[in-house]
């Protein structure tokens, strides 16, 4: 039997210059720009000793904030009951280029074995699993602009299958070179405009019994989830949104539009939403304020929505989605809870 799954905490790292409150009905992108997170010093002695990379260090800090916001100590999260998963569109820049650069500069004997061991997309997760003794499932998805929501789906599987009791779901983008240059070049080629934003976001999922046991204050309950693939149709998106509403399809639902920077995707989603009578609550997008956070997009929307209690109360059910013009997309349905204990 499957249990309800709750979101019990969120934590977000966004660049300093974004406007989290600039919520609009849809996107109106102007020119292209890259927004970076503040730099982190992963080269200091203490960080080197703990074998952190820039990304794993940022993740470490966000895990601590997430635990604090959930009312947990990191010691309480240790053990096989806690899993961790990440979603990203481009993954870790160091995997894509770090070793190649060393090889070109220093030759076959000049490659640093530690840097190589750190050059996997799952390194930030496993490094932090070691630090915080997270012994549940651990996986990295590196796929599309829906990666964060795909990670949330995978985390829900783990909870439903009783592999663990809580999962830290992370989404990130890493704009170290060559990724930043690659995104700029790709978007120029495809005529995509609008700001692209380096982001890290984390959401804590817990089974209802786990949350209940520690008298947690859940932010929301997940009521449904769905995903679709590379062959996108209006009908397919409509079906996915309906499925994300779960058995609450008759309720008034609000939606955070994925507001893809791809015009065809944006129009497909708009017509799919128009075809569902129950999605007649607010239609909003966070992208006018924060830009496109690529693989983080869906999780960022969920976190920003739930952080804004006044906004999240505007509909009993919210559908949060993310669409990737090449790979498909995903939606989740969430029911914001009053912040009382379970």
């Amino acid at each position: 039997m499957t249990e309800d799954i709750f979101i019990t905490a969120t934590a977000i790292d966004l660049p300093d210059d974004v406007d989290r409150l600039a919520v609009g009905p849809d996107t109106a992108f102007g020119s292209f720009g890259l927004r970076r997170l503040p730099a982190m010093d992963s080269d200091d002695v203490q960080t080197q000793r703990s074998r952190h990379t820039r990304l794993s260090l940022r993740l470490s800090q966000i895990i601590e904030r997430l635990a604090e916001r959930a009312g947990l100590t990191t010691e309480e999260m240790a053990g096989p009951d806690t899993g961790i998963i990440s979603g990203s569109s481009f993954g870790c820049a160091s995997v894509l280029d770090g070793i190649r650069q060393q090889l070109d500069e220093k030759g076959p004997r000049g490659v640093d074995p530690i840097k190589f061991a750190q050059a996997t997309h799952s390194y930030p997760l496993s490094a932090n699993a070691i630090i915080y003794q997270l012994q549940g499932p651990c996986a990295a998805i590196v796929s599309s602009d829906a990666a964060g929501l795909e990670a949330l789906t995978c985390a829900s599987d783990w909870l439903n299958d009783h592999r663990c009791k809580r999962v830290i779901v992370v989404a990130y983008e890493d704009f170290d070179d060559p990724v930043a240059s690659a995104i700029s070049a790709r978007d120029r080629l495809n005529g995509r405009i609008g700001d692209v934003t380096e982001t890290m976001v984390a959401i804590l999922l817990e089974t209802s019994s786990t949350a209940m046991c520690r008298v947690a204050s859940p932010m929301a309950r997940i009521v449904g989830r769905s995903s679709f693939g590379a062959v996108m149709t209006r009908m397919g998106i409509e079906k996915a949104i309906r499925k994300a509403c779960g058995r609450h399809e008759a309720s008034v639902a609000g939606i955070t539009l994925s507001a893809s920077r791809d015009t065809a995707c944006r129009n497909l989603e708009a017509s799919a939403v128009d075809a569902i009578p129950s999605v007649n609550g607010p239609r909003i997008s966070f992208k006018p304020g924060i830009g496109d956070s690529l693989g983080c997009a869906g999780l960022v929307d969920a976190a920003l929505l739930l952080d804004d209690v006044a906004l999240s109360c505007q509909a009993p059910i919210w559908v949060v989605g993310s669409i990737d013009s090449e790979a498909g997309g995903a939606y989740i349905g969430i029911c914001p809870e009053s912040r009382g204990a379970v």
Binding site: L96, P108, V111, D112, T120, A139, E150, P178, S226, A327
Partner: protein, 419 residues
């Protein structure tokens, strides 16, 4: 309600075998020696041999498969790892009796270690050159997955995993969940990889590679040998498969996923044994039902001894011991694709009730478990197989397969037809 999940198709691309039939033969005959990579110069590396697929060997077979599937071979993806993945996918779909129009609700869960055109982009970028459009459109690690999903016309769930050497096991477990939960009637799952010079350099720098051969569970083992290519499995809802008259290869009935939380390269036996226990419970079988375990067995001293210790923890008090083997001495280590390739090996073992020989393991260590001989396939009794996969950072995944009732002659002759 959990749905039963069958494996109705498999596809393989390796250096030595394009197609499952040839692969089964290659394995049964003990394989062959590693060679110098065709696509980069490895002479200056400490260890210079591997089982790397020559991209040129794939093109003709892919063109033929694409034509048979009803797509234009001119539309073949520009990335080598994507061509490997697409060829294995099209073989698996053909074996499952699935054609283009059947896949509207089918999904894809693929794995890769580092596949994309980012290397080419970075090279052009560092030299101040403008990358070509094909490079710019294939910059993400999911580029191969996107190419496969688009060519096959998949409208169902999509995910691409990269969790070091456990990647495709995680992808398969994700696909299992999508079919079990009813999210998709069919999931294409597996991996495709092309070893990059950078990966080759990295494993050399770690001194994890043997100079001559990979010898899993051998007293003289000194390390791994890299390999690349693709392995794909079609996971299908049992009712869906039986309704369309599909003949399954096997059932996939359990998965276990854990993290060691111990060390970034050294494995911890307790994490591995937890993954195996979880998979056994998830599959609703007993420990003693498992007749064959395809170990991760990289042939490094640390891996093999940790895995044996984990196995001993599980079976310490049992007089019934499954046969164990590692097939990495025959295929090489396929990194992110290794788990999918070894899932195929496990499925084939259940079909023939034979474990392929471990040709390079001439002086086996005393494992306390029965192992195949080095010069011929070895019979086992039973209908449950487990496959273990371990990744950097202490990521562990175990998958459990079971013989499907009525697996048969038709499927066996299809394999023979592929020879």
């Amino acid at each position: 309600m959990r749905r039963d999940v069958l494996i109705t198709g498999i596809g393989v691309v390796t250096r030595d075998a394009i197609g499952v039939g040839k692969f089964a033969d290659w394995m049964a005959n003990g394989g062959g020696l590693p060679s110098s990579p065709a696509i980069f110069d490895a002479e200056k590396f400490r260890s210079s041999l591997a089982y790397l697929t020559d991209p040129a060997s794939v093109h003709a077979a892919l063109a033929e498969r694409m034509r048979a599937f009803g797509t234009d071979p001119e539309a073949a993806p520009p990335l080598n790892c994507a061509t490997y993945g697409l060829l294995a996918t099209l073989e698996a779909l053909a074996g499952a009796g699935l054609v283009a129009g059947d896949l509207e609700n089918a999904g894809l869960a693929l794995a890769t270690t580092s596949g994309s055109a980012m290397d080419q982009f970075a090279e052009a970028y560092s030299e101040g050159l403008a990358p070509v459009d094909d490079v710019l459109q294939n910059l993400r690690p999911s580029s191969a997955a996107v190419a496969i999903a688009r060519t096959a016309g998949l409208g169902g769930p999509f995910a691409n995993f990269s969790c070091a050497c456990a990647s495709s096991a995680v992808a398969i477990s994700y696909a299992l969940s999508r079919v079990r939960s009813g999210d998709a009637p069919i999931m294409i799952a597996g991996g495709c990889d092309q070893v990059r010079r950078a990966d080759f350099a990295g494993f050399n720098a770690l001194r994890a590679m043997d100079r001559e051969a990979c010898r899993p569970f051998d007293m003289n083992r000194r390390g791994m040998m890299m390999g690349d290519g693709s392995a794909i499995l079609i996971l299908e809802d049992a009712d869906h498969a039986l309704a369309r008259g599909a003949e399954p290869f096997a059932r996939i009935c359990g998965a276990g996923l854990t993290a060691d939380a111990f060390h970034i390269t050294a494995p911890d036996p307790s994490g591995i044994s937890r993954a195996m226990r979880q998979a056994i419970a998830d599959a609703n079988v007993e420990r003693d039902d498992v007749a064959y375990v395809n170990c991760h067995g990289t042939g490094t001293p640390a891996n093999d001894s940790a895995e044996l210790e984990a196995m001993s923890t599980i079976y310490g008090d049992s007089s019934i011991r499954p046969m164990i083997s590692s097939t990495k001495g025959t295929t090489g280590h396929f990194l992110g694709t290794a788990a999918a390739l070894e899932a195929v090996v496990s499925v084939l073992a259940l079909q023939t009730r034979q474990v392929p020989p471990m040709a390079s393991t001439i002086s086996p260590v005393a494992t306390q478990f029965p192992m195949p001989v080095h010069d011929a396939p070895t019979q086992f009794v039973g209908d449950v197989a487990m496959s273990n996969s371990l990744g950097f950072g202490g990521l562990n995944v175990s998958l459990i397969f079971k013989s499907a009732p009525g697996v048969t002659s038709a499927k066996a002759s299809m394999l023979e037809g592929n020879h």
